[in-house]
């Protein structure tokens, strides 16, 4: 069963907590429900993007520094 992680906000998607840091997760990593997989920045405010279910993060649909719109699929877990 695959699940989509959707951005509720417009903004910029970041896979790392800061410059020079390791990504929160990489494709193929196991994630648990509630785990942070990235950040969306809207007008200098940062919101965490979280996995909704336990599983494996199969693929990021939005790259680091990518522009997201509300409803965009950020990543797919299975």
């Amino acid at each position: 069963m695959s699940h989509q992680i959707i951005s509720p906000l417009p903004g910029i998607f970041y896979r790392k907590p800061g410059p020079g840091k390791e990504p929160y997760v990489n494709e193929g990593d196991t994630v648990s429900a509630g785990q942070t997989i990235g950040l969306v920045e809207i007008m200098k405010q940062f919101s965490e993007v979280r996995a909704e279910f336990d599983g494996v993060l199969e693929k990021f649909e939005i790259e680091d520094f990518g522009v997201v719109n509300p409803g965009d699929v950020i990543a797919i877990t299975s």
Binding site: I42, Q45, V67
Partner: protein, 456 residues
């Protein structure tokens, strides 16, 4: 100076373009892909796309901005505020490329950017400071003894922080070591330096500041401002002059700020920020900002000067044509920051299309905006749409005129701070100068019914 590149966006880019055009200087706006149809791009003589929407890839991209300057034949770069304005490395690159940097020297930027060095410089210049450590804490320091000498509550501040960021409160000794460790880790992550220092914490303070101007030889102050109305440690309503300060406090602030500029051989505009304790009447240095500030307009309103014009003249190598005795103050000015955000929903950003925007007019009212009707507010940048600046002969009249002006202002399409500002300016506490930097939070807590039961 014949052609000026503006390395910024929004209302400050528009502000700089306006003065440059009045001086006969050709303007070049740099824009991201998201800002190609911005008002700044419309008003500038040329607009150059320097990268995609994220600021890190466009407005903050040193090489792209510098290339735009060189390709366009600009001979000067104005950084505005935020973005690259206090980046000494970028300033050095601009100067090394043979261009004029509209701002203080890279050395001044570095000195004031390092908060513990700036504090040392302030002490040397006779600027009043809060009790605290004069250098960054070391691993072998006896933290408990140092903290006990300063007294609780105190704050742990990142040396490389500023603008309200990189600050943590310690209320009692049990929290001390843990908070220092967290602050050091956060400072390393956010500012690439783990240096932190201690400063006494003032529970209920006002934020006051002094505008200074220097050409490396002559140094003057242009009076003071109060910026105590803040949300999330960000200013939202400012006024000049700061109301209700005892004369000796105001004089000490102003004179010591000029002395700090003089000792640093400061070139350009700068702002020395202070905390003012209205109960003890003590004033203490916070930091010095080495750039034009958002709220420079209220200083312009009470002095009749154009601070961007002064910046451009000084950068071009001209000397100040005034001394302190030529600076005179008239009346009272208020500035209201109109942000695209929802005060009823924890100041949630509100990007989108501005369907209509009606700005106020009439005597003593100035509107500096980066947007007009039909423009879109992108979700990628700061939420500041623009500022309404109101001048009147007295503070009382300025408050009445502000209420009238804010009543005329209307924006359809995005949520804004107009309604909140309208409420704030009408409060007896504001008229009586009883507000402080935590006032808005307590005001909102008491006026908005808490439907969630969440204490946050």
């Amino acid at each position: 100076m014949k052609k000026l590149l503006i390395a910024n966006r929004g209302e400050i880019a528009v502000r700089i373009i306006r003065t440059a055009r009045e001086m006969g200087i050709v303007t070049v706006a740099v824009v991201s892909e998201a800002d190609k149809t911005s008002l700044a791009a419309d008003l500038a003589d040329e607009a150059i796309v320097v990268g995609p929407a994220p600021a890190g890839l466009s407005y903050l991209n040193h090489d792209a901005v510098l290339k735009a300057a060189l390709d366009s034949g600009a001979d000067a770069v104005h950084p505005g505020y935020g973005f690259l304005s206090e980046n000494a490395e970028f300033a050095r690159k601009v100067i090394a490329a043979g261009l004029t940097w509209v701002g203080p020297s890279p050395e001044s930027i570095e000195l004031m950017g390092d908060k513990s060095r700036a504090r040392r410089a302030a002490i040397d210049a006779g600027v009043p400071t809060l009790p605290g450590t004069e250098t960054a804490l070391r691993d072998d320091d006896d933290l408990e003894a140092i903290a006990a000498r300063i007294g609780y509550p105190l704050v742990v501040k990142a040396s490389a922080g500023g603008g309200g960021r990189g600050i943590r409160l310690v209320e009692d000794p049990a929290q001390l070591r843990g908070t220092v460790e967290i602050a050091q880790a956060e400072a390393l992550g956010a500012f690439n330096s783990a240096d932190v220092y201690f400063e006494k914490f003032v529970t209920r303070a006002r934020h006051v500041e002094v505008q200074i101007l220097g050409d490396g030889e002559t140094f003057v102050h242009l009076g003071d401002r109060d910026c105590s109305m803040q949300r999330r440690q960000q200013k939202i309503l400012e006024e000049a002059p700061a109301p209700g300060l005892p004369d000796e406090v105001r004089e000490r602030m102003r004179d010591s700020s000029v002395e700090l500029a003089r000792k640093a051989n400061y070139v350009g505009v700068g702002t020395v920020e202070f905390l003012y304790d209205p109960f003890s009447h003590e004033v203490a240095f916070i930091e010095m900002n080495t750039r034009i500030q958002v709220e420079h307009t209220i200083t312009e309103a009470i002095t009749g000067m154009d601070l961007v014009r002064e910046q451009l003249r000084i950068a071009a190598g001209e000397k100040l044509d005034i001394t302190q005795s030529d600076v005179t103050f008239s009346g009272h000015a208020l500035e209201f920051r109109i942000n695209a955000e929802d005060p009823d929903n924890n100041f949630m950003p509100s990007p989108g299309l501005i369907k209509t925007m009606n700005l106020p007019g009439g005597a003593g009212v100035r509107a500096d905006f980066g947007f007009i009707s039909g423009k879109t507010v992108a979700p990628f940048y700061d939420s500041l749409l623009g500022k309404i600046i109101v001048w009147a002969p007295t503070r009382e009249l300025a408050i009445a005129r502000s209420a009238r002006a804010l009543d005329e202002a209307h924006i359809d399409g995005v949520k804004s701070t107009i309604g909140l500002l309208s409420s704030l300016v009408g409060l007896p506490d504001f008229a009586d100068v009883k507000h402080h930097t935590k006032y808005i939070e307590s005001f909102l807590d008491s006026t908005i019914p808490d439907s969630t039961g969440d204490a946050e």
